[in-house]
């Protein structure tokens, strides 16, 4: 495991850059623990100060220090992405492995539902959800709803893997030795699927964080929990761009782009490592 990590770091530039960007983002998020200001307080520092030695990323029109606000915002955004990823992983693994292993009618039904969730435009549904919930909308609730809508793409991928695993020798052996379906799936198939799951997790986080940012920017979430989208929302409310307070918008956007690109690079390089086809291209399978 460590050797794989070392090889990846040494020979895959994308992986190295991705790790660097994510460490940067994670470092920012970790700093939130030592923030000198309570997250929800406003007017704790002089407003509208440009970046300087005292306020390295400037201050907002609401009298918050952009740097410390940002550490908290990225922490919440990151946590949101992780929560959604974990929850949706559970659904997609269950659906994917079951559909792939059982096949037949179960597979057809599950995949029809699955494809439906791929096709349906989720954004209007999330907006509708906010519209109904209004002030009762909380961070956790949004995470649960997002996860219950965003599992379908990966479930399809996992299913196709499980389908090919089902025809392998060791599956027959497990079945003949008397293992029941859930056991076979959990003990024999899950380990094979996990690497792929790991790389799709990155993409899923990108997707959910993108949704969260978008919803908060529009003000369609709990705007009192500081997130990256929430910061941009408040900046827009104060017409920060028009009044030249660019640092209020530019730094959150830059940081979240770092997060997106970092996650994406990690997913791509891991995929490359896992995918037998591209590995074959590198080693050039002799024949």
């Amino acid at each position: 495991m460590l050797r794989i990590l070392r090889d990846l770091l040494r020979y895959n530039r994308g992986f190295g850059l991705g790790c660097f960007l994510l460490l940067l983002v994670a470092g920012m998020a970790a700093l939130s623990a030592v923030s000198p200001y309570p997250p929800l307080d406003v007017y704790v520092v002089p407003p509208d100060m440009p970046p300087s030695a005292e306020f390295i990323l400037g201050t907002t029109s609401r009298g918050q220090d952009v740097f410390w606000q940002l550490t908290l915002a990225i922490r919440n955004t990151l946590l949101f992405g992780i929560t959604v990823a974990v929850l949706s992983r559970i659904i997609s693994l269950t659906v994917g492995l079951l559909a792939g292993y059982l096949g037949g009618a179960v597979d057809r039904v599950l995949m029809s539902v699955n494809d439906t969730f791929i096709i349906i435009p989720l954004f209007p549904i999330l907006v509708l959800f906010y519209f109904v919930m209004r002030d009762n909308m909380s961070w956790t609730m949004l995470a649960v709803v997002t996860a219950s809508l965003g599992w379908s793409y990966d479930a399809r991928l996992i299913r196709s893997m499980a389908m090919s695993l089902r025809t392998r020798e060791f599956t027959h052996q497990a079945v003949f030795s008397g293992m029941r379906a859930p056991e076979v799936v959990l003990r024999e198939h899950l380990p094979y699927v996990l690497p792929i799951v790991f790389s799709t997790t990155m993409n899923n986080m990108n997707w959910s964080i993108g949704l969260e940012v978008t919803l908060s920017v529009l003000g369609f979430t709990d705007i009192n929990t500081p997130t990256i989208g929430g910061m941009i929302y408040w900046a827009n409310q104060h017409a920060a761009m028009v009044s030249g307070i660019w640092w209020w918008v530019a730094f959150p956007v830059a940081l979240v782009v770092c997060l997106f690109v970092g996650l994406f690079l990690l997913a791509v390089s891991m995929n490359e490592y896992i995918d037998p086809r591209s590995r074959l291209a590198r080693t050039g399978g002799a024949g």
Binding site: R10, T283, G284, A286
Partner: protein, 347 residues
Amino acid sequence: MTEETMMLAPPRPTPALPAPVLSVEKLRAYYQMRFFGVTREVRAVDGITLQIGRNEIYGIAGESSSGKSSLIKTIARAIRPPLNVVDGSVRFDFGEGPADIYKLDPHALAAIRWRHLSYIMQGSMNVLNPVRRIRHSFLDFAFRHMHLPMPVFLQRVEGHLARLNLEPRVLNAYPHELSGGMRQRVTIALATVCRPAFIIADEPTTALDVVVQKSVLTMIRGIQQEMGSSVLFVTHDMAVHANLTDRLGIMYAGRLVEEAPTRSLLRRPLHPYTRHLVASLPRIGDDAPKAGLNGTPPSLAKPPPGCRFHPRCPLAMDICRTEAPPMEELLPGHRVACHAVRQELAS
């Protein structure tokens, strides 16, 4: 394998050799791979010299991963990295003097491909573009070489297909609409429609059942005789070689170990590896148990020193472990690379 396929091909006049169509000199082609910083080299073709004359069917035999596929890919200049030519030359002479296929510019290469040099690929079930009709394959591959107006060209193609027992309607079919045997015959038609001087065939019959195999072999033979082409035919199936080829080269671990007219090679195999191959063939009235060969084929990434066959060879001597035997003509028209055989014949 049927008894019939084991019968040897009737003797044919040995073709005149002075101006070979193909001459391969000391050819080396290695797979050169880098995986996470570690360089690996697989010597798939390691110093091969051979010549093929006009109107001749030359067979190459050897077990899987003996490098025979790599050899003909290299000869056809059908290689892509990581397989690279390291040394040696491949010269074709299509009546305009010998020219090294690796020194031709892309334009000149495209001009001889299919016009003079065609290729029947291994696994030729999948060589037809699945989303286009067969007719388009013929247009893409052959039209520019034939210099005929379209209707005449199509007529010619239909006539050629008829020779292979294919109806003209296959031209309007997609590959998935044809059976495996039909696709195989379409591929052969595609490779022969320009009446090329040289045809390279890589295991063209391996995936077919014995009956279809027989008719395909008869077809290849018929077309070759009619057009006077040369054929380089590769298969691991010795029975096919016995039935089809004029001369036969045996490959082992990236090297040619023996080469002779097929009849004499099968009647009197000299190299211990060939003897084993020939001895393991079923013969009418022979019910003695077949002896297996000890050991496994060597890894081409780390070949044994000296003669590559020595770890499995019953005749191995000290010199075999250190010095690779050269390929020498020990009997007329019969080349062998073996220290033991040379000593035996000399004494």
